[in-house]
């Protein structure tokens, strides 16, 4: 894992003091809320329904036990004993006091964490494949590049007052576990014919009220030139984005309005400008960063057999554990979606337990996933049973990875001031409806994603079943969408028709699932059946 040197530490420490000063000026009345808002947003601090909300970055989703314990301490000391993992591999606290926010940032800085650029019109936390460095299917570990990009885009002088937020994701595997093409800029590491590393570059994706799937603007960008290319993209957007309508300022709108060809042409032209300026980080710096990501000291000669005599454990292994690139090791997924629970929420005590397990069994590494779950990336197969027992005792051994109860949900109207409707109670009711394990396994992969408003924090556009909360004359109402995907077969979900109230939408989801079970052919996932038969048979089941 990457470790700060004195320079990185100096940056976050200075940031804490800067924010302390900004908070002081706000409380003293030197600046008004209009002026303070962008400053607090650049430090992840929102004003939400019940209090301030703080979003802490987990760069590319990787963190360790010391960091997790600090997150737990902060939850206990400054919040109400829990945190919420988000779809962008961050963690949010819901009950923060403005006065205490600088102290929290100072505590985070002691464990090499921060909230820099986790909101506001800035280059956000870089997200990555949660199995990076462990996945059997990856070309290389994408995290050194993600870290390099993190540094290059931190406090970028030209791009700190962007038209809107800018989200980057990096992966290096054919399977997309990071919702790649739903990002403003998406990078997939590939090798060219000569075996050199480079990026396949996608641009112009995003959700929100006008969803777009990013399109490919470069087949192969030599890896060393990534910073020049990113700056070119950012400059074209910064200069030409609309500035008159906050809803039309995301890069996806510019790309759409200019057209793919023209956008690409402008980026390529600006790219030449940046190449000439020689701002790219040298190979030596990449190598320095990459050295922190050398594989942990895996043991060799380990067996692959797992004692499956405990049926509950066997069930968990079959669903939550996936292949590791090293023999004798496995990747263990920790579900934060217990039946009837709040998706992504985790108590401080649970955080401590996950920290202990990571330290003891996973080379001190934890990952956060965009599906609001956690991962222990490097567990010896022989240790899985012990890990499972500890998770089970802590209420963290739910079996539902990618199943119908593994629901993504944004905070919705229970916490969010922008919401139209509550998301969490819906996730709870749907998971209760489908609690039966055999039925879940029979249904198979089915990703439900719920947002409490059009901003799409819950990824409803990418839901195989998506749910969108709307306000219908002051009451909560829910629209049903079908057919989205955030994986390598990216697609945008379509609205089925008129919306439902809370009870109605749960029934509609169930009718959709039952229709799939009637229609499916052997081996078909829900999404496959939907793509084969289209919307109509489902509409008929839903609306009669």
């Amino acid at each position: 894992m990457y470790q700060y040197d004195k320079y990185d530490q100096g940056m976050v420490d200075a940031r804490v003091e800067e924010f302390r000063d900004q908070v002081r000026r706000r409380i003293a009345g030197d600046i008004n809320d209009d002026q303070f808002k962008p400053l607090r947003l650049k430090n992840g601090l929102y004003l939400q329904l019940h209090a301030y909300m703080l979003r802490v970055a987990i760069p590319y989703g990787t963190f360790n036990s010391v960091q997790m314990r600090k997150l737990a301490d902060i939850a206990r000391k400054y919040d109400r004993g829990y945190g919420h993992f988000t779809t962008r591999q961050n963690i949010q606290y819901n009950w923060i006091k403005l006065e205490e926010a600088p102290d929290i940032l100072a505590e985070l800085a002691t464990v090499e964490m921060h909230a820099i650029q986790t909101s506001g019109e800035s280059i956000r936390n870089i997200s990555a494949d949660q199995y990076a460095g462990a996945a059997a299917d990856e070309i290389c570990d994408p995290r050194p590049w993600a870290e390099l990009i993190r540094q290059a885009t931190t406090f970028h002088p030209e791009f700190s007052y962007l038209p809107r937020k800018f989200k980057i994701a990096v992966i290096s595997a054919p399977e997309d576990r990071a919702a790649l093409r739903w990002h403003d800029c998406a990078l997939r590491i590939v090798r060219n014919g000569k075996g050199e590393e480079g990026f396949e570059v996608y641009a112009g994706g995003g959700m929100g009220r006008t969803p777009f799937i990013a399109y490919k603007i470069r087949d192969f960008l030599p890896a060393q030139q990534i910073f020049s290319y990113l700056q070119a993209i950012l400059r074209v957007w910064n200069l030409h984005a609309r500035r008159d309508n906050i809803h039309k300022q995301r890069m996806k709108i510019l790309v759409h309005e200019l057209g793919e060809e023209e956008f690409r042409r402008q980026v390529e032209e600006e790219f030449q400008t940046f190449l000439a300026l020689a701002t790219d980080f040298p190979q030596a710096e990449y190598d320095r960063i990459a050295a922190y990501f050398t594989p942990p000291p895996f043991e060799t000669g380990l067996g692959d057999e797992i004692d499956r005599s405990d049926p509950d454990f066997a069930l968990w292994v079959d669903r939550q554990v996936v292949a590791h690139k090293v023999p004798g090791y496995a990747i263990a997924n920790i579900s934060l979606k217990p039946i009837g629970g709040i998706p992504g929420d985790i108590s401080a005590e649970q955080m401590d337990i996950v920290a202990d397990l990571a330290e003891r069994y996973s080379f001190d590494e934890i990952r956060a996933t965009h599906a609001q779950n956690l991962v222990l990336p490097h567990v010896r197969k022989a240790d899985l049973y012990a890990v499972w027992q500890a998770l089970d005792a802590a209420g963290l051994a739910s079996v539902n990875l990618d199943l119908v109860t593994d629901i993504i949900a944004c905070p919705g109207l229970d916490y969010c001031s922008l919401a139209n409707a509550r998301s969490i109670p819906l996730a709870q009711k749907i998971s209760e409806r489908f609690a039966n394990m055999e039925r879940q396994l029979d249904i198979g992969e089915l990703k439900i994603k719920i947002s409490g408003c059009i901003n799409a924090c819950g990824h409803h556009h990418a839901g195989q079943i998506g749910i969108l909360g709307v306000d219908r004359k002051g009451t909560e109402n829910y629209q049903l969408l079908l057919g989205g995907s955030g994986a390598e077969d990216t697609s945008q979900a379509k609205i089925t028709g008129p919306g439902f109230d809370e009870a109605g939408i749960v029934d509609a989801v169930e009718r959709t699932v039952e229709r799939y079970r009637e229609l499916r052919e052997p081996g078909e996932r829900f999404l496959d059946t939907y793509r084969r038969v289209g919307l109509d048979p489902f509409k008929e089941a839903i609306y009669g």
């Binding site: 970028h156 700190s160 007052y161 020689a278």
Partner: protein, 140 residues
């Protein structure tokens, strides 16, 4: 007069003309760019210009950062002034993009300005200033 100026030469106080006026009759030595105007159109005239003023109508509108860098990268050496909704927390970035004077519609406290400009002793990336990026410090 600039509120804050970081240059040693004599202030140049000829009133700035608009970009359109300048392009029509390029004999002025001071030009004002509105947000959204294309800084590259000034590139042919950079050696005769002594003051370019870039407006920040709202602090959220960051186009001026790119305009400034474009001018400096094209070799402009004269005064580059940020004018308008210029807040303390923008100054550090503005300096790095090549601005060397500021006229703010707010009254900025000089001590706060000093603190803001000196907050960060290092930077991660190259820009148009002299600051040495951290990667270079790391590798000597």
């Amino acid at each position: 007069m600039a509120d804050f100026r970081y240059r040693d030469d004599q202030p140049h106080e000829e009133p700035a003309v608009t970009l359109d006026a300048f392009l029509e009759q390029p004999d002025a030595t001071a030009v004002r760019l509105e947000a959204g105007e294309d800084a590259r159109r000034l590139i042919p005239f950079l050696d005769r210009l002594q003051l370019i003023e870039i407006s920040f109508p709202r602090f959220r509108d960051g186009r001026g950062f790119s305009s400034a860098r474009i001018l400096r990268e094209a070799g402009y050496k004269g005064e580059l002034r940020a004018e308008g909704d210029v807040l303390i927390d923008l100054l550090f970035f503005m300096r790095r993009c090549g601005f060397d004077s500021f006229v703010s519609q707010h009254s900025l406290n000089p001590a706060d300005v000093e603190a803001a400009l000196n907050r960060y002793s290092h930077v991660y990336q190259n820009a148009t200033d002299e600051a040495v990026p951290i990667w270079k410090l790391r590798h000597g």
